[in-house]
Symmetry: C2
Subunit: 318 residues, 2 copies
């Protein structure tokens, strides 16, 4: 009887891509966390977003260290994403319309691919690995350049054919015109971009972002305080709407604006209470994964597609 030769074994990884309007955050994610990470500009003078996605995927693949192999790819994108069919129905800032992203990537790379909406992927990551870990049904609200929500219902992220959680637009008939064609959409005054833009419109002073508006408000600038308060009030109405519709007891707040910490969460809690009369007030919890939520979410989609489950053991540096 011969002794079998020791078989070389490698650890599984997935490639994770979080496609944003400016950058694609890309990482090789193994069972114990990120192994490699990189960033690729989404659009350059001579490269369209889809080519950037392929470039990022190939660059990641080539960077997989010895001792690892690739079992799948997960990708999170903005827009209207049909997770089940694997198609991006529309993503304005990427110029995508009915892009069969999953089959494109599966053909290109020869591994199973999971695709999802960036905010739902972020919500999935916060639920499995971050601030919502172990929670029952709840919502994740991401407030950054835009505003969107992701809801965990009946123990799964709810996609609604790609439209669930797209709460940033619609719902009003009066107010400031919005890029979507509507008026008074919450993105116009409660997103980080909206808060900065409104402050500049009222004062003529250019500010790089919502953080500076908050700092000015804290320093006594009454216009900044008014713009900030109006934005937070809108977010309170939004969170209250989720609670009124779904009876949720926990809302994880993420996106760039949550970096403001209690300066956001304390007045937001007060605003939510103003908009709820009979419903229990939900716990508001800051997101735990910061700007990596989308990348981790993409990794989870990739693990799911590769048939390796939900990867709840992933070690996330907090």
């Amino acid at each position: 009887m011969s002794t079998p030769a020791a078989r070389p074994t490698t650890s599984p990884t997935v490639l994770a891509l979080d496609v944003g309007g400016t950058d694609i955050k890309a990482a090789v994610v193994g069972e114990h966390g990120m192994v490699v990470r990189t960033t690729v500009p989404t659009r350059t003078a001579d490269r369209e977003p889809l080519d950037s996605v392929l470039l990022a995927a190939h660059r990641l693949w080539e960077s997989v260290p010895a001792g690892y192999h690739v079992t799948g790819l997960g990708i999170a994108t903005p827009g209207i994403v049909d997770d089940e069919d694997g198609v991006v129905r529309g993503a304005e800032n990427l110029g995508w319309r009915e892009v069969p992203l999953r089959s494109l990537l599966e053909e290109e790379l020869g591994v199973p691919v999971g695709i999802g909406h960036d905010v739902r992927a972020g919500g999935l990551a916060e639920w499995r690995l971050g601030a919502g870990r172990g929670a029952g049904d709840h919502a994740f609200v991401a407030v950054g350049t835009g505003i969107a929500a992701s809801v965990v219902l009946h123990g799964a992220v709810y996609a609604g054919g790609g439209w669930a959680g797209e709460v940033g637009h619609g719902g009003r008939t009066t107010g400031e015109p919005c890029a979507c064609g509507g008026r008074g959409c919450i993105e116009t005054y409660a997103s980080a971009a909206g808060i900065a833009r409104r402050y500049t419109a009222r004062t003529g002073v250019h500010v790089p972002g919502a953080r500076e508006v908050l700092e000015r408000a804290q320093a006594g600038d009454v216009v900044a305080a008014d713009v900030w308060a109006h934005g937070v009030d809108g977010l309170g109405e939004l969170v209250a709407g989720l609670v009124r519709t779904l009876g949720l007891r926990l809302v994880v707040v993420g996106g760039g604006l949550v970096r403001a910490g209690d300066a956001l969460l304390d007045p937001l809690d007060a605003a939510v209470r103003r908009y709820l009369t009979v419903h229990p007030v939900p716990e508001l919890r800051p997101a735990g994964l910061g700007s990596d939520a989308g990348t981790y979410g993409a990794a989870l989609l990739g693990w799911g597609a590769s048939g390796r489950g939900t990867l709840t053991d992933l070690v996330v540096p907090v």
Copy 2:
């Protein structure tokens, strides 16, 4: 070999109770529809609602015809109903608080009991037997004395610990005071009761209900037209909110107000479109079971509790 004696067989039924503020609608429901139906006043000078429920249940049981037997009971009530725990957390108009209705009835009657919220039960019935038959995820909005919604998500009615769909209250900080303690709640101006009350408040003319307000509007009464339009606009905002949050493509509209037919649905469709900018406009469909939706829903809850499944073969007279 002896011929076995013919065994007498009886058909299964459930007792179904739909508890309203004024009446309890009660029926014995068999596999082919209602067998017996009756009504018991919810409250009399010398009888509290809980005693009326027991009276209705016993009266139903005694009325079960020969050839039938009782396998379970289903009950739908207003208020905050925890379907899973079988407890009515609170129902103001019944004076109930933390009433363990399921265990009370199971002890009293000795059959399995299913309990649920009246509007979610109505939504369940419309989904299984009525206008939503065969539909995927969708919403049921009931507009009567109050306003509430019921949503089918991931293929099941979503309860949210009893709070899902309680959209009649909260969401505003200005407007007319509401019984719930808030201001501007949609029930104050878009419920059938709210529409009638607002017309009377503005004209001094007493009207028995919203139907008369609509009739006056159709006859050229400008105040009636304004009150009706304002109510419909609020319902449009509500429906749009469900679509924005959950991406639903179908909304079944029920409750007393839907008897107005196209006089409600046409302007409601226009209002929904005003409040949606990027989302697909949902189909609005009038409910099919009328005021029996809650009773059929209770029957389905009873069939579910008795382990007999969802009874989709039930013949419903339309």
